[in-house]
Structure formats: structure tokens, C-alpha cells
């Protein structure tokens, strides 16, 4: 597993330079609450046909900064983006709340203070 740090402003450029649809399988968007209003965001890839090759791009952020969408690069990413909007209460460009949660659900269940 290889972890590569990125930032939200450079995310699209970094993933755009890295991602080739016929080489890399996009696994998931993930968030990990770090406490004190901080979150680690991850974009995870595996390599087709190669054993154990996982690449994770990660960016440290807070909960108020909007997260850029990678759907223009990876069309299937919209599901994962909607999931982190629900679970962490983040704002992701173009991603609506309500994939899992209802109006009366916890607002962002996987945030540390929830």
C-alpha cells in the first residue's frame, strides 16, 4: 500500500495525472475523522492484474472546506462522494445528501463529536 499526500486545491490535477481507467481500478472515497474538527480524506485505487498494488491519495482538511468532485475524471466516484456527504456532513461539489440518511437521521454520524 502506497500513500501519497495531496491537497484539496491540487486534488484534481494530482489524480488527473495519475489515473488511467485501463490501468487503475478506482476503489473508494473514504473519510477518517481525526478529531478536533479535522478529517483525512482518501481516494483509493488498485492496479488491474498486479498483486497487492494499492495507492491511496489522501488530503487533510476540516469540515467546512468544500471538497472538489473527481467525477469528471472518474465517473463512478459519485456514489462514494455522496456517501461522505452523508456520513461526515461534508460539502462535495454536485453531491447531494440522502444516499443513506433520511431527514431525521443523525446529521453526520461518522464525525467524531456525533
Amino acid at each position: 500500500m502506497r500513500k501519497i499526500e495531496t491537497t484539496l486545491p491540487t486534488l484534481l490535477a494530482d489524480i488527473g495525472a495519475f489515473y488511467e481507467a485501463r490501468k487503475w481500478h478506482f476503489l473508494s472515497v473514504n473519510g477518517i475523522d481525526l478529531g478536533e474538527g479535522k478529517i483525512e480524506l482518501q481516494w483509493i485505487f488498485s492496479r488491474y492484474g498486479i498483486k497487492d498494488e494499492i495507492v491511496i491519495y489522501y488530503a487533510l482538511s476540516d469540515y467546512t472546506t468544500p471538497v472538489p468532485s473527481v467525477v469528471s475524471l472518474i465517473p463512478s466516484a459519485f456514489m462514494g462522494e455522496r456517501e461522505i456527504v452523508d456520513m461526515f456532513g461534508l460539502t462535495v461539489e454536485g453531491a447531494l445528501r440522502g444516499l443513506y440518511l433520511d431527514e431525521d437521521s443523525l446529521p453526520h454520524p461518522l464525525r467524531g463529536e456525533s
Binding site: H25, L27, S28, N30, I44, G49, K51, D52, S76
Partner: protein, 361 residues
């Protein structure tokens, strides 16, 4: 601009086993747009894994994410925690885990095939496949103690061993099943109803498979050569006779055929596992508490199941991320629906073998 109408499919529908709602935008009978609502059975499993249960209990929690592929959930989680503990299972444990995962694949594929037959109006075949599937369900029950929700895998090993009587039963049932699958292969290929209904219907092209990150039988039916069993080194699949099953047409017929041929391959691997089971303990002691971050991929019946586990040396984990195969397959599913006839939508959906319990977790 032509007039369009919106037609829903689900959340409750005669063709659905589990709740999902598609909202189709149709021009006459043709689907031109689709939206999916997948969250009907969200249970907050990821939250429970980090707030309500200690790491030794979480394996039994994640086995409840899904009744069909419980074993792959508990295996993925267990492998991740074992990596964080620095533990590597002995070969006997690995073989026993592989045996249960492959039996699980067989029964899950058969359920999908039965449901696919039902969607073609072939009720008798549906019942025949479900009856044949009992051969595998009986094996799972005999080995693990349960037909479903089998808590067979634990951190540091497995909870039950194979006896000579069980090995003989596995051989007997799998031999019977193998003959039945051979018959099904002919039926799914040559039967007029199944061929007419499924050949050329619900096509996912190879380009779409790459673009929308298709996985599992859905990808392999489109010719995309990907299978976690050969993309990870956690288990010796190649040594036990694994062969990747690929089709190229990407239609419902191809997906059926990938599943049928994968069943035969899984049967062969299960026989090899039983015949070559290494000696060793089935439970080994592990020390410490999980610290750090581990990722695990396991090929579940519907494709890649992904777990990311992060611990900080305490009993409670910091994060358990579960990414299930159906969740990842939904973008590809939505593309396949576009351009299809609305009347084919239930059959196309069944051919994806969707598991909403996994997806909504």
C-alpha cells in the same frame, strides 16, 4: 423534443429480492435516464464498529452486514485486523477459509441464476436450481453450524475443523452438484426462452466496464480481466486450480455463463482444498491490539469487497470502512439501463445480482 415519462422500479417490486428504487426516464418503452436510491436498509454498521463494539467483537458484527456473503465480510475484517497485529495464518487456516469462501460463491451464484431464470418466466428452472443449491447449503451448515450468518472465521483462525466424515460429504455433494451445473450450462446456452430473453440484452461494453469501474462477474462478462483472487497474495488460489472465467459479449447471457463456469471452477478448488488440506492448528493465539492502518480486498460472489481498518492500539477501532461490490457496481448498472427497454429492466437488474443489504450496510 420527445415527451418523456418517469417510471419507478422498486423499492418494492415483484422482481426485487431486496429494496432498491430506480427512477427511469423513458421515451416510449426505451430508458434514456436513470436515478438510483439505495439507502432503504442502512443500519449504521460502520458507526457501530467503532462506537459500540471492541475489535474482537467486530468480526461478528460485520458478518451481519449480509446474509449471503457473511463469510467474506468476516474474512475481510479478520484479515485486516490480523495484518495490524502482525499475524499470518498457517496454511490449514488459509485453506479452511478459502473452502468456505468458495462454497459461499457457489450458493450465491446459484441464487442469482435461479432468480435470473425466474425473471425469464422459467419458474420450474428457478425451483430446480434452488433445490440443487441445497447441496451447498447443507455443506455450509455441516461445516460451520449455520446455513447463513456463519461465524466460522475468527481472529487467529477458524472456529471448526474438517472431519473425515465432512470431507467425504463435501466430495459427495460437490460431485452431484457438478453434474447438475453441466446440465444448467446446456440449458442456459440452448434453451429457447433463456437465449431469446438474454442474448444481446443488458449489454455492458468493455469500455464501459473500465470507465465505470465494473467488478466481479459483471466485469468479467464484459471481458475485463480482473479478479481479486489473483490480485492479492493472501491466499494461494493459483496453486489450487483457479482459472479466470471471461466472456466478451457483456450481456445477461454472458453474466449467467461467467457464474456457471465460476461455480465449476470453485467446485474444483474446493475438492483440491479438501484433498490437500495441510496439517496444523485451526486456532492460534494473537497478541496485542490493532495499531495502524490496513486495507484488505476479498473477491466476494459479486466482486471486490474492500475493508480499511485503522486502530490506535486500543480495544475500540478508529475506522472500519466497508466498500461492498454492489455499491461499486451501481454506476455501471445505471449505464447498462440507458438505451434498454423498460420491460427488460427487471431481468437486467437480476443479472447484476444486487445485494442491497451489503450496499446500504
Amino acid at each position: 423534443m420527445k415527451k418523456t415519462i418517469q417510471i419507478p422500479l422498486g423499492s418494492q417490486h415483484i422482481s426485487l429480492l431486496e429494496p432498491i428504487r430506480f427512477k427511469f426516464e423513458c421515451e416510449n418503452e426505451k430508458i434514456i435516464g436513470v436515478d438510483a436510491d439505495v439507502g432503504f436498509v442502512h443500519r449504521g454498521v460502520e458507526l457501530a464498529c467503532t462506537r459500540s463494539f471492541e475489535f474482537k467483537q467486530v468480526g461478528y458484527v460485520v458478518a451481519r452486514v449480509c446474509g449471503l456473503c457473511a463469510i467474506t465480510h468476516s474474512l475481510s475484517y479478520t484479515l485486516a485486523v490480523e495484518k495490524l497485529l502482525g499475524y499470518v495464518a498457517n496454511d490449514r487456516i488459509k485453506y479452511l477459509r478459502m473452502l468456505m469462501v468458495e462454497l459461499d460463491r457457489i450458493h450465491s451464484h446459484m441464487l442469482c441464476l435461479a432468480h435470473t431464470a425466474e425473471n425469464a418466466g422459467f419458474e420450474a428452472l428457478f425451483m430446480q436450481i434452488m433445490a440443487d443449491r441445497e447441496l451447498v447449503m447443507d455443506l455450509q451448515e455441516a461445516i460451520s453450524g449455520n446455513r447463513v450468518q456463519f461465524d466460522f472465521i475468527a481472529i487467529g483462525g477458524v472456529n471448526r475443523d474438517l472431519t473425515p466424515e465432512l470431507s467425504a460429504l463435501i466430495h459427495k455433494n460437490l460431485e452431484l452438484l457438478s453434474d447438475k451445473i453441466d446440465t444448467l450450462l446446456g440449458l442456459f446456452d440452448n434453451n429457447w426462452s433463456l437465449s431469446l430473453k438474454y442474448k444481446g440484452v443488458g449489454v455492458l461494453t468493455l469500455d464501459q466496464a473500465y470507465t465505470y469501474n465494473a467488478l466481479g462477474p459483471l466485469a468479467r462478462a464484459a471481458g475485463l480481466a480482473t479478479d481479486v483472487r489473483v490480485e492479492t497474495s493472501d491466499f494461494p488460489y493459483e496453486a489450487l486450480g483457479y482459472t479466470m472465467v471471461l466472456e466478451s459479449t457483456g450481456d445477461i447471457h454472458a453474466r449467467n455463463f461467467v457464474r456457471l463456469r465460476e461455480i465449476l471452477n470453485s467446485i474444483a478448488m474446493c475438492r483440491n482444498i479438501v484433498d490437500n488440506l495441510p496439517s496444523g492448528e485451526i486456532q492460534e493465539k494473537t497478541k496485542g491490539k490493532p495499531s495502524g492502518e490496513a486495507v484488505v480486498r476479498v473477491e466476494a460472489p459479486r466482486g471486490e469487497l474492500f475493508y480499511l481498518v485503522r486502530g490506535n492500539g486500543q480495544n475500540m477501532l478508529e475506522r472500519v470502512r466497508i466498500k461492498t461490490p454492489t455499491f461499486s457496481a451501481i454506476p455501471a448498472m445505471m449505464e447498462v439501463f440507458k438505451g434498454s427497454e423498460y420491460a427488460d429492466a427487471p431481468a437486467i437488474l437480476a443479472s447484476f445480482d444486487p445485494c442491497m443489504s451489503c450496499t446500504a450496510k
